[in-house]
């Protein structure tokens, strides 16, 4: 591990100032992803700014209108087991509990979860080509082991899947990511936070170097009470998703009134396709309608040697989850 200075930030402004003063600095909260990558030599910050002592960033509160405000330093566990989250946004709780292990969820912060790095096998591999780790070196996943890689949103430079479970219900619910830097505060819709790899796969999120995430806001969504997160993976627990589905649905008199749907394991960013949702609204809540919606999401895919199976698996998972949620599980 490269040597680094340790700085302790007492406030968000303090952290932003330290970041602005040092191109080579990084924030550390739970550190579950960062410390591991530092051991691998993938992350080599010269300074770490410990933000854990900043007060007021651990609260989880529900507003009168039913929205959630989640402090960036709240642990993944604290949010997953929070009674309001479990009751009003079950898919957020389920998605968090489907990720990692209790030890890691106790340590990991909510802000950090949004920014976690991809788990493509070649990313931490020193002798492999990876355009995220070493821009311009190439991508060994495209013709290599790509079972865990994406089929949507890929480019010729990178096919790594976004690994976050949490980001999927947040994307489905139009969460807003609050950040603060030396120039003040910004609210970023979560759909704008993660960038498609395109020609610059190393440029992953829409955050300036001096900005830190302070909170995640989830707008009110009455149908989110009827939501579910389903994760399919190579082993039952503690594995990243091959395919996952975050879904909420409202059904009135047998007709779909609203759908919120995001799919994991398949996209280079947390994947949602509003066109698919729009196509389902107004249709009878049947497997045919869900299947037609799922087909829209996967109308333009690029499968690689080891991950083509994900397309059918994801479509079936979407139909299954929406059917169960709408009581049409045959």
């Amino acid at each position: 591990m490269r040597e680094f200075e340790l700085v302790r930030a007492a406030s968000v402004a303090d952290a932003a100032k330290s970041l602005a003063a040092n191109e080579d600095a990084k924030l550390i909260a739970g550190g579950t992803n960062l410390v591991d990558l530092m051991k691998e030599g993938v992350e080599t910050p010269g300074t770490l700014i410990d933000i854990n002592a900043i007060s007021g960033l651990r609260d989880v509160t529900m507003s009168d209108d039913g929205g959630l405000m989640i402090g960036a330093l709240a642990s993944n566990s604290a949010v997953a087991w929070h009674p309001d989250v479990q009751e009003h946004f079950p898919m957020i709780s389920q998605a968090i509990l489907a990720g990692a292990t209790t030890q890691i969820r106790n340590m990991a912060s909510m802000g950090g979860n949004l920014l976690q790095k991809n788990r493509c096998f070649y990313y931490p591999e020193e002798n492999a080509r990876c355009n995220k780790r070493e821009p311009g070196s190439g991508c060994d996943a495209i013709e290599g082991i790509n079972r865990m890689c994406a089929v949507l949103g890929t480019s010729e430079h990178c096919i790594a899947a976004n690994p976050s479970d949490l980001c999927l219900p947040l994307r489905a619910l139009d969460a807003i990511v609050h950040v603060e830097g030396t120039n003040g505060q910004r609210a970023i819709p979560i759909e704008k936070l993660h960038k498609l790899p395109g020609d610059t796969p190393y440029d992953e999120v829409d955050l300036r170097h001096d900005e830190m995430i302070t909170a995640i806001e989830v707008p009110p969504s009455p149908i989110a009470r009827n939501s579910h997160y389903r994760k399919l993976r190579d082993r039952t627990s503690y594995a990243f998703a091959l395919v996952s589905v975050a879904a909420a649905i409202g059904v009135e008199d047998g007709i779909i009134s609203e759908v919120r749907l995001a799919v994991g394991g398949v996209g280079t960013v947390p994947w949602r396709d509003e066109e698919a949702e729009a196509a389902m609204v107004g249709q009878p809540a049947t497997q045919e309608a869900f299947s037609a919606g799922a087909a829209i999401i996967f109308r333009e895919t690029k499968a690689y040697s080891g991950n083509g199976f994900k397309i059918d698996l994801a479509k079936r998972a979407i139909v299954r989850v929406l059917s169960e949620l709408s009581g049409d599980a045959k």
Partner: protein, 162 residues
């Protein structure tokens, strides 16, 4: 070498030390304090052998920088028994033969102790899920599950509000 100073509590004892900023809590416990009950398995957060309690929450010592423990309270396997009186989870692991080589055992025990206070359901499947961060390469899982079930029933009976 870049150094830092931190103070924290380990098994009730106050520690103040200066060390390389890169030191993980795991290395600090083992190499600086000679508390070698906490094991280094994968050193990447995948096996759970290094599980300790930080402020009562089970955590991975291998992914925790010791410098980030400033002001916190840490409990390791060495801090669990009360003199010669074993913790109910330790007793249950012995009674149910919940290990072979024993390398994962202190992590399994720390995890199970924490789990007893977490809001999991009662089934064996819940135990397997809650304990999935602790690998056992000897494959003693059925006995570990039995031990955890017995211990947490006992703990719930003895400390209904804990």
């Amino acid at each position: 070498m870049k150094r830092t100073t931190s103070s924290f509590e380990v098994n009730g004892t106050r520690i103040s030390a200066e060390f390389d900023t890169r030191t993980t809590l795991l290395d600090f416990l083992r190499e600086h304090l000679d508390l070698t009950g906490t094991k280094k398995g994968c050193n990447h957060g995948q096996c759970g052998a290094c599980t300790v309690m930080i402020d009562g929450q089970r955590s991975l010592a291998c992914l925790t920088l010791a410098a980030l423990c400033d002001g916190r309270s840490i409990t390791t396997i060495e801090g669990l028994a009360n003199g010669d009186k074993l913790h109910p989870v330790q007793k249950a692991l012995i009674e149910h033969d919940g290990f072979q080589c024993g390398y994962c055992t202190s992590g399994q025990i720390m995890s199970a102790v924490a789990m007893a206070k977490e809001p999991w359901g009662e089934s064996d499947d819940e135990v397997r899920e809650a304990m999935s961060g602790n690998l056992c390469r000897c494959g003693a899982y059925p006995n570990i599950v039995a031990a955890v079930q017995e211990a947490r029933a006992k703990i719930a009976k003895e400390q209904p509000d804990a």
